[in-house]
């Protein structure tokens, strides 16, 4: 299967934060949800893909091209949508068309205006007065007004109302319809991932916890609960985000261990929100352990 994005052992260090050997791939024709809580390293990874951040080590290939050496070619063929508008607020849509059309070989002004009309973007209003949803649609119109094969969206749905979110997810579904184009979108709203993604990569504390298909993730973890006395050494060792209370315990566990659970421990499938919460707990516990040592 041809990959649109390949990240191998990406390391990027900042003071107080680092991406640790981040590796994942996105096959052509699919949508990947790039999930993690705020500060987990999603935006740093996206900035590294776009060569906006200088990576310390590792390799990133986009559309088969090297992210550093072939930066210009990659940017010609990739659309990017960020969580906030990147145009001066006093500009009109017509000025944005004039500003961008010279940069992209495949820019199509007619398509840009058609998309603006389809998204109901007012051409006679300054973009600064647009609603959050309209600003998002404007950035998508910019990304789709040229021949892109890959779309990167950084937290596109945060701050959008449910209707605007649904519209956005519809637009993304249309984009990959021909099977030739792919999308990487980062989010901390797991409902969007459940709704639209084919693949999921979970990032926490700068490292990849899971990467694979959405169905694999849905099957991978279970939530276990039981009496406090049922917490065995094996549970302590293999569980993720174990929390004990006077009345009992709860934790997440790889579903591969579900047949080895002691009696009295109940389990159920973990949903995406729970997976994120337990991973975050485990990550914080790891940080505390490191500090204690």
């Amino acid at each position: 299967m041809e990959n649109v994005l390949e990240i191998n052992d990406l390391c990027k260090r900042y003071k107080g934060f680092e991406l640790k050997n981040v590796s994942f791939t996105l096959p052509k024709g699919y949508i990947m949800g790039f999930v993690g809580q705020n500060g987990s390293g999603k935006t740093t990874t996206i900035r590294s893909i776009l060569n906006m951040a200088n990576i310390n080590s590792g390799e990133i290939k986009v559309l088969g091209l090297d992210s550093v050496k072939d930066e210009i070619q990659i940017k010609q063929r990739t659309g990017v949508v960020l969580d906030s508008l990147y145009f001066a607020e006093h500009l009109y849509i017509s000025e944005i068309d004039k500003m961008l059309r010279h940069f992209y070989e495949s820019w199509n002004s007619e398509k840009f205006y058609t998309l603006a009309k389809r998204f109901s973007l007012p051409v006679k209003k300054k973009v600064g007065s647009f609603s959050k949803g309209m600003k998002m649609k404007l950035m998508i119109a910019c990304a789709l007004s040229r021949d892109t094969q890959f779309l990167i969206l950084d937290e596109p749905t945060s701050g959008l109302d449910p209707v605007a979110r649904d519209e956005l997810l519809g637009i993304l579904s249309d984009y990959i319809e021909d099977g030739e184009r792919s999308i990487l979108f980062s989010t901390h709203i797991t409902a969007d991932v459940e709704h639209i993604a084919d693949y999921v990569t979970v990032l926490q504390g700068g490292k990849v916890w899971f990467t694979g298909t959405k169905d694999e993730l849905a099957e991978k973890y279970i939530i276990i609960k039981g009496e406090r006395s049922a917490v065995s050494e094996a549970i302590k060792k293999y569980s993720i985000g174990l929390r004990t209370r006077a009345t009992g315990f709860e934790a997440m566990l790889d579903s591969a261990y579900k047949n080895e659970l002691p009696q009295g421990v109940e389990y159920e499938k973990a949903d995406f929100d729970e997976i994120l919460v337990y991973i975050s707990r485990e990550d914080k516990k790891g940080d505390n352990d490191e500090r204690d040592n």
Partner: protein, 232 residues
């Protein structure tokens, strides 16, 4: 070069509506001063002719446009050359404007105080005004290059350092100039009357305008090397 031209076009579209009205008003005031008072007085506009570029930095910073620059298919550092080149073009256009107005002023001879023009000797001629403009062109390039370098290297939030140190430098340069007791007026008079030969004039203008452009290029290179690996 295409990347730089495209960036200049983007910047120009971005700033034109925000800066057009103040610019037109400033040009009208300068032209009126030059035509009805003395062409030398309007030269002040030249020193600050690059201020629209500073406004551009504010506009793009406020609009999070550094993200846009990072996403565009252009190499890092091209923005530095684009901004310096756009500034040089603006200063050159402003210089051409004051020279054109000076020519018109001496043709129309509508000066309110004609005595003042006569007393100015060298500076009271079109030739003297052109020479004055050429010197101020250099000063403007220096001030602009200093400010742009401050913004590129230290960031927009510290731009005041560039303005304060720039004005301080100009103040010191003025004091030194006065202390050196150079009679600018008689110097310009000598230039205006003595440089009759065309090639002498040509050499003078090539050198003086060349110095201004060289200053811009040198500071652009400093800014480029200081920021080319900077993350966006």
């Amino acid at each position: 070069m295409k990347e730089i031209i495209d960036l200049m076009r983007l910047d120009f579209i971005c700033m034109k509506r925000k800066t057009l009205l103040p610019l037109v008003l400033a040009l009208i005031c300068a032209a009126a001063t030059g035509i009805f008072m003395h062409p030398v007085f309007m030269m002040m506009i030249l020193v600050f002719s690059w201020l629209p570029i500073e406004a551009l930095f504010s506009i793009t910073a406020k609009g999070n446009m550094d993200k846009l620059y990072g996403m565009l298919p252009v190499r890092r550092g091209r923005l530095v050359w684009a901004r310096f080149l756009l500034s040089a073009i603006i200063i050159a256009l402003a210089t051409a404007f004051v020279i054109a107005v000076a020519w018109l002023a001496f043709k129309l001879n509508l000066f309110y105080d004609k005595e003042l023009i006569l007393e100015s000797e060298g500076m009271g001629t079109f030739e003297g005004s052109v020479m004055m403009a050429s010197v101020i062109f250099d000063l403007s390039c220096l001030f602009c290059a200093w400010e742009l370098t401050t913004i590129f290297v230290l960031g927009m939030e510290r731009e005041f350092i560039g303005i304060v140190t720039g004005l301080l430098l100009m103040f010191v340069a003025t004091v030194v100039f006065v202390e050196m007791n150079i009679d600018m007026q008689s110097m310009l008079t000598k230039f205006a009357t003595g440089m009759g030969k065309l090639y002498m004039k040509s050499v003078y203008y090539v050198v003086v305008f060349g110095v201004g452009l060289a200053i811009m290029a040198a500071f652009a290179a400093i800014s480029y090397f200081a920021t080319r690996r900077r993350e966006i």
